[in-house]
């Protein structure tokens, strides 16, 4: 992967250090100023008390102690986890279905484009459209529920439904993208393995569970890691639709961080919450990587 494959001839033998430094200069500024420096600064700020106006004051572990005793924080962790489980569970299954159907039915660019369409609009657009479709009074979604004889649901206004609804909205936006990732993984499975199964008379279902799924595992692992990391960071949809409500029913971690920083100007505490988020992401990634063995392939 990182092996220097460029085999340069006699002409290229000279040393390009000065030119190279010039060429990586802009990117290096971006790297240091907007990746590494904020990383260090964010961690440092989590040990301070700071309202942006007076100078930051070092308070040791106070923020973390407050966090451990903060019910809203723990609620935010719980709500975020609930969101991730629903979002990722549903999204992975639907995307897998779409990908397999696409592979079996048609490889047309048109079909794949249609499937991908929701991914092109922003989270805010997706949120607003569903706010309207699922409106309690006028939303077509609730009208349909009534037609088929069910009760109307306060999708964004009831404590029980807020998180599942937001999770589904984001499934809508991302399922096509995830399906295309999985679809790309399906293409990498050699057709000879399928032929062997067919000669043995294996059914579609058996082929799927016996061949497709196991061979797809590394790709599925990577898809999961990427989408779970993204899922934990949910903010846009919540901010636009429920803004954390009703009560704290949909106050996800990232929204709580935003509230603390920009609502209450408690940048120290908000930074400590961010560090908690960072740690969660690191731990989740690590365990997922181990569990799905995403780095290894069975295709050899």
């Amino acid at each position: 992967m990182s092996a220097p494959t460029v085999r340069e001839g006699r002409v290229g033998r000279r040393d390009d250090t000065r030119l190279a430094l010039l060429f990586i200069l802009p990117a290096s500024i971006g790297l240091v100023v907007f990746y590494f420096w904020p990383l260090l600064r964010g961690i440092w700020l989590s040990f301070t008390s700071w309202d942006l106006l007076s100078p930051a004051e070092f308070v040791g572990l106070d923020n973390y102690r407050a966090m451990a005793a903060d019910p809203v924080f723990w609620n935010a962790v719980r709500v975020t986890l609930l969101y991730v489980v629903i979002n990722i569970g549903l999204q992975t299954v639907v995307a897998l279905v779409i990908a397999v159907l696409m592979q079996r039915l048609s490889r047309s660019t048109l079909l794949r484009s249609l499937v991908l369409a929701p991914y092109l609009v922003s989270n805010v657009v997706a949120a607003l459209v569903f706010l309207w479709i699922l409106d309690y009074q006028l939303g077509i979604g609730n009208q349909v529920l009534e037609w088929i004889g069910l009760e109307r649901i306060g999708f964004f206004t009831s404590e029980a439904w807020a998180i599942p609804t937001i999770a589904v909205v984001n499934v809508w936006r991302h399922m096509g993208y995830t399906a295309l990732l999985i679809f790309a993984g399906l293409q990498a499975i050699p057709s000879t393995t399928y032929e062997a199964a067919r000669v043995d008379g294996a059914s579609e279902v058996r082929t799927f569970f016996g061949i497709t799924l196991p061979l797809l595992r590394p790709i599925l692992g990577l898809v999961l890691i990427i989408s779970v990391i993204g899922s934990f960071q949910v903010f846009d949809t919540v901010a636009v639709t429920t803004n954390g409500g009703p009560v704290d029913a949909s106050r996800v971690l990232q929204l709580y961080i935003y509230d603390k920083a920009f609502g209450q100007f408690d940048f120290g505490y908000a930074s400590a919450l961010s560090v908690a988020m960072l740690l969660i992401l690191v731990v989740v990634t690590f365990f997922q990587y181990r569990m799905t063995r995403a780095g290894q392939t069975d295709l050899n």
Partner: protein, 320 residues
């Protein structure tokens, strides 16, 4: 690497039906037909779920807001009207807007549209160009410490962007760039580790022969970059540029932090604002959906032009 790795895979998968046909001609014709019909039914249902919200957006945007309350289920626009769009572009007087269900607050989506175009265009151009420069240094130039420095760049892939937003906001504030377009653009101007990684893969595979010929002719390495590497990598550069553009256009959280007034308001933030301002009892759904459509339309148009490239660019080969 997307195109180079998925392309060879295509013939093998296409080959499956042929083998099937030869091995089991009867089964191919009878059994899959029912399964295939069923599969198509499921696929079409999924497509309906995928596409219905787009249609509903359009249908609502072209309705009169008042009429929506009387007839919320009609599949066609109710009492057809451009009123929603007129409110979105600030073409209605305050009284008129309030009479039709708007908030009456001044909104001008031309301005937000312009801001979004400026931000997405400048970010894409700078980010892709600077990333390409770095990718060139990491793939085709010879210098000591190259792989070590590249490793450091790879490390930044591990830093979740969301963690950097709060400290970056503080930095942008210290630079006095709050509520400016430059403030919104700044963190994204220089590079993303993914773009560098992605482009480096392609640059490494550009044939060295042309480059050597040019060098013998006395061309400099800078010239090789502009006259050979970039033209020969137009495809991947376009791919990463389109993806960057879409991402930048759709970004909400960061501009929400930085922007406070119309001067720097981009479409996503303006939409959120529009929604927050609309009357709580009896929202201006027609206006909201018109605004939503205005925000989504440029990306849909971009997609219509570049669908094939975008669709084919999605895969894992760029990362792995």
């Amino acid at each position: 690497m997307t195109e180079t790795t998925t392309a060879p895979a295509a013939p093998t998968t296409v080959g499956v039906p042929d083998v099937q046909r030869a091995a089991a001609p009867r089964r191919r014709r009878r059994r899959p037909s029912l399964g295939r019909v069923l599969a198509w039914v499921v696929m079409i249902l999924l497509l309906l779920v995928t596409l219905f919200p787009f249609y509903w957006m359009l249908r609502t945007a072209l309705s009169s807001n008042g009429a929506l309350y009387a007839n919320s289920t009609s599949l066609l626009p109710v009492d057809f009207s451009w009123g929603g769009f007129e409110r979105v572009f600030g073409l209605q007087s305050t009284e008129e807007a309030i009479a039709q269900g708007g908030s009456g607050a001044s909104i001008d989506f031309w301005l937000y549209l312009r801001n979004s175009v400026v931000v997405a265009t400048v970010v894409t151009a700078c980010q892709v160009f600077f990333s390409a420069m770095a990718a060139y240094a990491f793939s085709r130039l010879r210098w000591r410490g190259r792989d070590a420095v590249f490793g450091v760049f790879l490390l930044s892939l591990m830093v979740p962007v969301i963690f950097t937003l709060l400290p970056n906001f503080i930095l942008v504030r210290e630079l006095g760039l709050i509520d400016t377009l430059l403030g919104i653009m700044l963190p994204g101007l220089f590079m993303t580790p993914f773009a560098i990684f992605f482009l480096r893969q392609f640059f490494m595979n550009v044939s060295t022969e042309v480059e050597e010929a040019a060098l013998i002719d006395g061309a400099s390495k800078v010239r090789v970059f502009f006259a050979i590497i970039i033209p020969m990598s137009v495809g991947p550069i376009a791919t990463i540029a389109i993806l960057t553009y879409i991402g930048s256009w759709n970004d909400y959280f960061w501009p929400l932090m930085v922007s406070y007034t119309d001067d720097s308001r981009v479409l996503t933030v303006a939409l959120g604002n529009f929604n927050a301002q609309t009357p709580q009892t009896g929202p201006d759904w027609a206006g909201l959906m018109a605004a939503t459509l205005v925000a989504a339309l440029p990306m849909i148009l971009l997609f219509l032009v570049f669908a094939r490239r975008i669709v084919n660019s999605i895969g894992f080969s760029g990362i792995k």
